[in-house]
């Protein structure tokens, strides 16, 4: 792998940028791998990368049905933060945050991680009490977090309507300065390039149609395009389709798949240099470097695998954004899309061994998986390498829904579900 650098950029400029090397190979799959990661999104590619880099493993493959980062990795609103209420979740997301802070250097790939801060608004007294509780919990866990009043919110985001005359007035917010956004495609590509350089085989356009289980042990995957590929350990990181893969292996997961949608506006001049989220009026917005307003909506209430969302949700979200930012009322929306998120009953992920030996699942990230990409890959690589969870992901096993040790982050995380 040729390293990217400023000098390299100049050199290639002299040749009209025509001689850039391919970022990853397109290998034919072998018959057997020690580790197979199913799912070539950010989490799956990060898992393969850390397996090779941190755990010095070889003979690793990532199998992807479509193209890299074509699922939820390329469909989210790119927000990164770690201000979660409960210790288990806070430690996991803060672990990811620390990896984000050095990710571009680590991967030698600019993931455009921009720590522009995230604001979670409160619109009534109870919101503000919850915010104070969460900020205090964050600070005890060493996570930067502050409580802002309406005046301070207005100073950071001048275009926001913070007057008391609105239907849901802004009373204040929690504020995490280290939070921000990253370029989602670059995260997938950066991990893919770095993993490929360490010898990971990335096999695209290969759909898994069955997980082969013999005497309760997973021994390989059956693919539509390349037949049987045997494996030592299999890690499934397939987001909305996790339930389908679990079904192939013969068990159920406590997840439900829902469409979650987002949309972007036409590009406009810079008006918002941070991320604003509101749980109560149910909308969130940031502005990309291109100038598009990136707006996130809620999930559809029913199970769905169509990668599009319903119109009532769009309307509801536009109401919320209009209420908060009356200045954008005449901005046109450019594109709208949906991704399939796998939600769990407690809004926390499942990073777990399963009833089938040598088969592991990393799923259930629901509406907030992007922010955890490096951390998720890091702990899941550890689980695949050692066959057991480390202390960061121990609490997130799927059997918590049997013994009742849930990590109830619903609402507490200050996100719009």
């Amino acid at each position: 792998m040729t390293r990217y650098s400023g000098i390299g950029l100049l050199k290639h400029a002299l040749h009209h940028q025509e001689n850039w090397q391919r970022m990853w190979r397109n290998p034919k799959p072998r018959d057997h791998y020690d580790f197979i990661v199913v799912g070539g999104g950010g989490h799956g590619l990060a898992t393969a990368y850390y397996l090779a880099k941190v755990h010095q493993k070889a003979n690793i493959a990532v199998v992807e049905k479509g193209w890299l980062g074509g699922g939820n990795t390329g469909r989210n609103t790119t927000i990164v933060r770690s201000n979660y209420l409960w210790d288990e979740a806070a430690h996991l997301y803060e672990h990811a945050m620390k990896l984000w802070e050095g990710l571009s250097q680590d991967l030698n790939y600019n993931v455009m991680f921009s720590q522009r801060g995230v604001m979670n608004l409160g619109h009534n007294l109870q919101d503000m009490r919850d915010i104070q509780r969460r900020v205090n919990a964050n600070r005890l866990n060493g996570i930067d977090s502050e409580v802002l009043d309406a005046q301070q919110c207005k100073e950071i985001v001048p275009i926001m309507d913070c007057s008391s005359s609105t239907r849901y007035p802004v009373l204040g917010a929690s504020w995490q300065p280290r939070a921000g956004v990253a370029r989602h495609d670059a995260v997938a590509w950066g991990y893919a390039r770095a993993a490929d350089a360490l010898g990971v085989d990335i096999i695209q356009q290969t759909e898994v149609v069955d997980i082969v289980v013999e005497d309760g042990v997973a021994v390989g995957i059956q693919t539509k395009q390349h037949g049987l590929i045997k494996a030592g350990r299999i890690g499934c990181v397939t987001a909305g389709h996790s339930g389908v893969l679990a079904g192939m292996a013969g068990f159920e997961l406590p997840v439900e798949s829902h469409p979650l949608q987002a949309f972007v506006s036409e590009p406009i001049k810079p008006i918002l240099d941070t991320v604003v989220m509101s749980n109560a009026v149910h909308g969130y917005m940031s502005q990309s470097d291109k100038g598009d307003l990136v707006i996130g909506a809620g999930i559809d209430g029913y199970v769905g695998y169509g990668q599009r969302g319903s119109y009532p949700v769009i309307e509801h979200t536009v109401h919320a954004i209009m209420e908060l930012f009356p200045v954008v009322s005449r901005v046109h929306m450019n594109r709208q899309w949906g991704g399939i998120v796998d939600t769990t009953p407690d809004a926390c992920p499942i990073i777990s061994a399963t009833p089938v030996e040598n088969l592991f699942f990393n799923c259930g990230w629901g509406t907030g998986g992007f922010k955890a990409t490096p951390g998720s890959g890091h702990v899941f690589a550890d689980m695949l390498a050692n066959g057991k969870p480390n202390k960061l992901c121990k609490a997130f096993n799927m059997f918590r829904f049997h013994d009742g040790a849930l990590i109830d982050e619903h609402g507490a995380a200050g996100v719009a579900h």
Binding site: V244, E252, L253, E256, G306, S310, P345, D403
Partner: protein, 97 residues
């Protein structure tokens, strides 16, 4: 936008009048005092999540406020039909479980 048929109102109405209430035909354990943790866990948290035909409970929350079941395809979004709680609607190629 779904156009759902409410078997109580006997009319098609728009999706916004309804609230999706999850998987249908969930039977509460008959002997709750003697359930194991696993049985309770399965009842409370484990839901069918098929990519294909799915039986769901819907609430006509902004209409008659009664519950009914819908048989729907979660991949193509085709609605096969609605039926009252306690009834059954046969789906093409599916046997009653």
């Amino acid at each position: 936008m779904f156009l759902l048929y409410c078997p109580h109102c006997e009319e098609h109405r728009e999706e916004e009048e309804f609230h999706a209430s999850g998987q249908a035909h969930l039977a509460r354990p008959t002997d709750p005092d003697n359930c194991t943790d696993v049985e309770w866990g399965e009842f409370l948290y484990f839901r069918k999540n098929p990519k294909g035909l799915h039986r769901e409970l819907w609430h006509h929350s902004a209409g008659c406020r009664k519950y009914f079941n819908v048989l729907r395809n979660t991949a193509s979004y085709e609605i096969i039909g609605s039926y009252k709680v306690g009834d059954w609607l046969d789906a093409p190629g599916e046997k009653k479980s």
